[in-house]
């Protein structure tokens, strides 16, 4: 709530300038801001300067303010006999701000406590000295990580949400493509139906694990801020604009039409930066609406240039009802089922539980031990045959020298036989132990019953910021 009030205050403050930007000179009308080099505490002046500079660069990308160049700040400071690093009080900052003729000043401090870096930033009006926004960040890690924190701070200090790309960069997930999906335009179907299909498409794309999707809530917020009604932002220009505000790389928009019993789906994925179409997919479908959902799910994969999973293709081939009936016939996978399979063949239970690496591991382990058992058995067999051979020679020999020799050989073979047998017994014990361990492991990693969606209480309470009301939500997964 506090955030909303604060956001609204900044929004109201900045709105005239933001609106002015689209009407006349892009720079005109925006509030003017100057950033003083942050104060360094346990951090070198060079590093503080670099970090402050990063904030200056990024704040320019927000398009929310007009930034006074560092050179101008330096010149004023020089004239006043200050060094930037020496101007740390609010009074000094206000004085510099007045001389620069800016409306707002941003100042702050970067400190190091133990292994934790702290950033405290403040934006205040030069005229009254009133603080408009304060932000504090704690960061643990290499100092270079503060660069991204400063970039995010640049957005947040002017009351804007940092773009998704920056947030992803912070979490190290910036290798994935960021995508936002606009609600599909419904032609011949209701808005709610179009939204449902969009949701299913969103889920399907998310399931590919190749993209990072922007949440529907975030998208709604942006559209709401831009004054769009639900479903009214259907043009490519609007989508690109929203994409830019969300900071995503790609936007997906589309339309679902109904002509008699025939449905048409047209989906386009395009780059936000250039507006160039990345991929376009069109599907014509005739039949029950269930099949349309499957088509949408498949499109969630194909729009990314991926092959749809076999399960989806099977669902398309059989039809949803038949597919679900077939699924229902198949007994659900259980931990006991996994264990029984592994008791029969090592690793089989793990394969059954989709833990293929483990499956191969157990199978290989048993194969190796089995090989060692066979080697021991082979040694035993050789010793056994030698023993019998020497025994025959010993029994029939009459030369005392040869009798002694055959006896020695026979005793030696007997020892070899015992050793091979002991080795074999140990290996058999290990083999059995590993077999049992494999079965226990199969049980542990086997499909757990309590992982099904139905064991999760499907009731939620949510706060709707648009209606200022608490909502009660009940959701039941249909798949």
């Amino acid at each position: 709530m506090l955030f909303l009030l604060r956001f609204s205050a900044i929004f109201l403050l900045l709105t005239p300038f933001l609106l002015g930007q689209f009407i006349t000179d892009p720079g005109a009308g925006k509030p003017t801001v100057a950033i003083l080099d942050f104060e360094g505490r346990n951090v070198s002046p060079q590093e503080v300067q670099t970090l402050s500079e990063r904030m200056r660069t990024e704040i320019g990308n927000t398009n929310a303010v007009r930034l006074i160049e560092r050179k101008a700040v330096d010149k004023i400071m020089e004239e006043q006999g200050f060094q930037q690093s020496g101007c740390t009080t609010d009074e000094c900052a206000s004085e510099v701000g007045e001389l620069l003729g800016v409306q707002y000043m941003i100042s702050g401090a970067i400190g190091l406590m133990g292994k934790t870096y702290t950033i405290d930033a403040k934006m205040f009006t030069v005229e009254t000295g009133e603080t408009i926004e304060t932000k504090s960040v704690s960061y643990e890690g290499d100092i270079s990580g503060l660069l991204i924190e400063m970039e995010i701070l640049a957005w947040e200090i002017v009351g804007l949400e940092a773009p998704t790309r920056l947030k992803l960069k912070r979490t190290g997930e910036d290798d994935k493509v960021t995508v936002a999906v606009m609600d599909f335009e419904g032609r011949g179907i209701s808005v709610l139906e179009a939204q449902t299909l969009t949701d299913r498409f969103n889920t399907s794309m998310s399931n590919t694990k190749k993209v990072l999707m922007v949440e529907r809530g975030t998208m709604s917020d942006v559209l709401y801020e831009q004054g769009f009604e639900t479903g009214s932002c259907t043009s490519d220009e609007c989508a690109a604009e929203v994409g830019a505000m969300l900071g995503v790389q790609f936007m997906v928009s589309g339309a679902v039409g109904k002509l008699g019993d025939t449905y048409t789906i047209d989906i386009k994925m395009f780059k936000v930066a250039t507006g160039a179409a990345e991929n376009m997919q069109s599907v014509t479908y005739q039949g029950k609406v269930d099949g349309l959902i499957t088509e949408i799910e498949i499109l969630g994969w194909t729009i990314l240039g991926l092959n749809a999973p076999k399960k989806l293709l099977e669902k398309k081939r059989l039809g949803t009802s038949a597919f679900l009936a077939q699924e229902a016939k198949q007994a659900p996978k259980t931990q006991v089922g996994a264990m029984m399979r592994s008791l029969f063949i090592p690793g089989l239970g793990q394969f059954y539980s989709e833990k293929k690496l483990w499956g191969y591991g157990w199978l290989a382990a048993e194969a190796v031990i089995g090989g060692l058992i066979y080697l021991s058995y082979s040694n035993y067999n050789t010793a056994f045959n030698d023993y019998n051979s020497y025994q025959n020679q010993y029994v029939n020999e009459t030369d005392p020298v040869l009798i002694a020799k055959f006896r020695d050989n026979s005793e030696s073979s007997h020892i070899d036989m015992e050793n091979a047998n002991s080795s074999m017994e140990i290996m058999v014990a290990v083999f059995g132990t590993v077999w049992i361990a494999n079965a226990v492991h199969a049980y542990m990693v086997g499909p757990k019953q309590n992982e099904t969606a139905f064991n999760d209480v499907p009731v939620r309470l949510a706060y709707d910021q648009h209606t200022n009301q608490v909502q009660f939500a009940l959701s039941i997964p249909l798949d």
Partner: protein
Amino acid sequence: MKKIVYITLLLLMACEIPTESYENPLDVEAAGDNGIETPALVFFPDEITVTSGATFTVFVYGLMFDNLAGSSIQVEFDKNRVQVSSVIKGDIFVDSQNEPIFFTELNNENGLINITTSFLGSDSTAIDVTGSIAQLTFTTVATGASTLTFGSQCEMVNPDDEALEIKGFGEVSITTN
């Protein structure tokens, strides 16, 4: 399934370790284990299983005698079960100079065999050896178990005709089926 059974059988077979058995009557170590001290007179082999009417051969051995020059051996057998058919000299007193002295007396009525044998000539005086004194051939006449033993008149002598101590005597178990 067959493979599993085969492997299981292999594993079960692998558990079989035969008990060590050293029963050669000419093995000095085994003789000691069987209560026969050396020097001794033994038969080889010491167990015979034959069918009725069949013939078999048994060797008489002197085991670990020192300074041996001659011997007089008496063998007793169950005349109702076996009959001696021939006795041939062994190789214990054979040398490059002369054939050994070798006299035998076969008495199937009393179940006795007397053998006298020694070196002939002054060049061959004595040996320290284990060797065969005689080869006895028997014919079984009735089924049943019997033994072949050394009699009380056995004597082993050195070149001075002094008796050598015989500490142990072996015997043969004969089973006629």
